[in-house]
C-alpha cells in the first residue's frame, strides 16, 4: 500500500509522543536532556547548591593552592568527586564548574538555535510563499553564507564584532539562520503547491494569513527536528570557539574553556581536566542527537508506522 506523504496534525501529537516514548534510545535522550535542563535551572535559581552565591564566573570556585590537581576521589566531598583542574594558579573542582558551565552552554545554544530558527523560518516561509525576487535574493544571500565553512565564518564575524561572549552568540546567530531559511523555504514551496492552500488563496485569503495559518504550522515539524539536531552542533561550535581561545574571558564557565585550560595537564598524564568536562559535553550532544533522531523517525510520515 503506498503511504501518503502528509504532515502530522495536532491530534497526532499524542500518538507521536507515545511512539517517541516507545523508542528506548529517544527516551534516554529525552530524559538526559531534561536532566540538563533541570541542572541549568538550578544554576540560575539556587547557585548555592554548588557552594557559591553566583555561578556566573569561575572565580567563585577558585581555591588558591599550588599542588598538582588531584583526580576523582570520594575523599574530598561532593565538590572534589570528579577531581580538580588548575588554571591561572587557581584550583577548581571539576564537578561544580562543569555543572555551572551547563547553564551557559545550554542557555546560549538554545538561544542561538531558537532565535536563528525563528528568524530563518519566518524569512524562508515568506520567501518561499511569495516567490519572485524576494525568493531569489534570499537564495543568493544564503548561498554566500554557505560558501564559507561555519567555523571560519564564525571566527571572522567574532573578529569583526569583538572577541566577547555576546559577540560569539551574535556571530553564531548570523551564520545559523540561513539553514532554517533554506529548510522553511523548501517546505513552504511544497505546501504552497498543496490543494488546501490553493483553495484558501482562491477564497480570498491574504498571503500573510496564508503564511501564518497554513505555511508556518506545517513547516514546524521539520524545523523542530532540525532544532533538536542542531542544538548539539551549536553547542559543539560554541565550545570550539572557547577552546580555540578566541573569546577573551578566561574565567567564563564554559566547558570548552575548561577543557582548553585543562589540556595543559595532558602532557603530565592528567586525564580528568579534559575528560570530565568532555563527558559533560558529549553526554549532552549524544542525548540531544538521540532525541532528534527519535523525533525525526516519529515525525517523518514515511517512517511512521
Amino acid at each position: 500500500m503506498p503511504v501518503k506523504k502528509r504532515h502530522p496534525k495536532l491530534e497526532d501529537y499524542s500518538h507521536t509522543l507515545r511512539l517517541l516514548v516507545k523508542n528506548k534510545l529517544a527516551l534516554v535522550g529525552m530524559v538526559i536532556t531534561i536532566i540538563y535542563f533541570i541542572i541549568a535551572m538550578l544554576d540560575v535559581v539556587y547557585p548555592r547548591y554548588l557552594g557559591v552565591s553566583s555561578t556566573n564566573s569561575l572565580l567563585a570556585f577558585g581555591i588558591p593552592v599550588s599542588v598538582t590537581p588531584v583526580g576523582p576521589s570520594f575523599s574530598h566531598g561532593f565538590a572534589g568527586l570528579l577531581g580538580y583542574t588548575e588554571m591561572y594558579s587557581l584550583q577548581f573542582p571539576l564537578l561544580p564548574i562543569s555543572l555551572a558551565a551547563i547553564k551557559f552552554d545550554m542557555g546560549y545554544s538554545l538561544f542561538i538555535v531558537m532565535i536563528g530558527a525563528g528568524i530563518g523560518t519566518l524569512v524562508g516561509a515568506i520567501a518561499g510563499f511569495k516567490g519572485g525576487y524576494i525568493d531569489e535574493i534570499l537564495m543568493r544571500v544564503t548561498d554566500v553564507f554557505f560558501s564559507v565553512p561555519f567555523l571560519i565564518l564564525a571566527l571572522a564575524f567574532i573578529f569583526l564584532l569583538g572577541r566577547y561572549i555576546i559577540m560569539a552568540v551574535y556571530a553564531l546567530l548570523i551564520i545559523w539562520w540561513p539553514i532554517y531559511a533554506r529548510l522553511a523555504r523548501g517546505q513552504a514551496l511544497y505546501i504552497k503547491s498543496m490543494k488546501f492552500v490553493e483553495a484558501a488563496t482562491a477564497s480570498g485569503a491574504s498571503s500573510a494569513r496564508n503564511i501564518f495559518s497554513h505555511v508556518l504550522p506545517n513547516v514546524l515539524s521539520p524545523i523542530f527536528v532540525q532544532i533538536s539536531l542542531d542544538l548539539g552542533t551549536i553547542m559543539q561550535l560554541f565550545a570550539v570557539l572557547f577552546f580555540l581561545g578566541v573569546i577573551s574571558d578566561p574565567y567564563f564557565p564554559e566547558l570548552g574553556n575548561i577543557i582548553n585550560q585543562g589540556q595543559n595537564w595532558l602532557g603530565a598524564g592528567l586525564w580528568w581536566p579534559v575528560i570530565i568536562p568532555g563527558i559533560f559535553i558529549l553526554l549532552f550532544t549524544i542525548s540531544i542527537n538521540l532525541l532528534g533522531d527519535g523525533l525525526r523517525d516519529v515525525l517523518d510520515p514515511k517512517l511512521r508506522r
Partner: protein
Amino acid sequence: MVEEQQEQIKTKNDGEEYLRVENLVTRFFTSKGIVKALDGVSLSVKKGEVFGLVGESGCGKSVTATSIMDLIPDPPGRIISGSIRIDDYNILNDLPRLAKIDVKSETDVRVKRNKKLIKRHNFVISKIRGNKIAMIFQEPSLALNPVISIGKQITENILLHNRVEIANSIIRRESLTEADIKSFYEQIKDEKGDFRPLVNSWTRQFAVPVAEDEIVNILRSGADREMTVRELSEVIMGKKRGNDLNVISTMRDYYKREEELFNLTLKLLEAESQNDQNRIALLEQQISNLRYNLKKDFSSFLWKRRFFRKKYEAVFEDEARRRALELLTLVNIAEPTRVYDSYPHELSGGMQQRAMIAMAIASNPMMLIADEPTTALDVTTQAQILDLIRDLNKVTGTSVLFITHDLAVIAEMCERLGVMYAGNLVEEGPASELFNNPLHPYTTGLLSSIPRADVKSRNEIKLESIPGSVPNLITPPSGCRFHPRCKFKMDICAEKKPALVEVQENHKVACFLYSKEVEN
C-alpha cells in the same frame, strides 16, 4: 462470437493450473495493531488464462499479488500460513520453519526469524521470481530504478535466468558449419509461400537474428542452389564473433551444474516439508557432493572469473543486449536502441510501462502478475498497454493475473474473475457469468456502482453505491467481513465466516445466502 468465446473458456477451464493459492493468510504487525490483510485467500490461475482480481482499494488485491511473489516487506508484514503452488511447486513449503511469531498483544508481536533458513528460502525464491512468475507494477516511474539505464535493467533479468540457454545459442552460432547451412537450405527451399517464420526460428536458434533480413533477401533472389548456399554461408559465417568455445562451454557446464544444484535444493525443501527423513539425508548428501564437485571441477574457472569478470561477462552481455532490443521491439517501442540507453525519467509513462513489461517477460515467465498496470497512465496509453498485455497472453501463452479496480478493464481483459473484499475472496467465476449473474451482495453492489451501457437486459438495476466504506483491518468485523454493509444481513453473518463454495458450475461464492457452509 460469444459462443466461440464460451467454447474457449470451456477448454481453458479444463486446462492445467499454473498457479494455485490456498488459504493464504498475510498480516502486518504495526504500532497501531495487527492488520489482518489477507484472511484465507484461495484462487487458481490456469495456463494461458487471464484471471482478473477486482475490488475496492484497500481490499487486499495488491497484498495478494505481493504475497504470491513472496515480496511482503518483513518487517512489518509476514505471510502467516497457506500455500502458493507455482508450476506445481509450493514456494511456501518451508514457511512454518522460517520464523516463530509470538503474539503478546495486538501492538506487541515478536518475530523470531531463522536467518539461515530464510537465506535459503530467498535463494530458492529468487530463482523462481522473474523466471517462472513475473510482475508489473502500478507506477512504472517508481518501479523502475532511476539510476540504472532501461537496457541494463532488462539485461539484468536475462542474465539472471537464461545463462545456460544463452551459452548454448552462442555455442551453436560459433560452431555453425557449411553443412548446417546446406541442410537449412534444403529444408527451406521447398517451402511454398512465406518462409519468414522458418527463417526467424532458425536464426533465433543459432543466435544470428541480425542476419534474418539478409537471409530472406538471398532466398528471394532466386539464384541457383550453389550460389545461394555460398551467399548464405558468407552472410551467416560473417555474424560469428569468434568467441572461445572452450571458455563458453565451460561456463555453460558450470551454470548447468548450478541449475542442478537448485533443482536438488527444491527437492530437499519438498522432502523437508513432508518430513521424509531418508530422502532428506539422501538429498543433503547429493547436494554437498555436487557443491564439492562444483568447486573442485571449476576451481580454475572460478578463479579466473573472479579477476576477469568483465571479460567473461562481455560475451553474455552482448547476447543479452541483443535479446533486450528484441524485447523492446516486441513491446512496440519504436526506437529500441535509443530507449535501451536511456534512463527511466527520459521516457513517458506509457513507454516506462512498456519497458517494465519487456523487463518482466525477459525470461519468458509462464505467468505475469499485473498490479493495476494502467491506473497511473492516461486513457489512450491505457488501451495500448492493455492490448499489449492481451497480445502477449495470446502469442506466448503466458497466464496473467490481472489486478484492477476498474470493472470496464476487467470486462475487456479477463476470462475468469475473482472479487475481493477486506482480505477475502468473496466470489469467483467466469467473467461473463459474474457480470450477468453476480451472486454475492458485494459483487452486485460493485457492478451496480458503475453505469453500464453494455448490458441492456439489466436496466432495472439502479445506479447505486455500497453504503459505508472498507473496514479497518486491524479490527475487522466478525464473521463475514461484509456484513456491516450488507443489505441482506442475517444473524449468522456476524457470527461465522462463510466458505467459498461452488454454487453453480464454475461459479463460487462465499455467502450464507447461497450455502450454509462455514470456513473451518
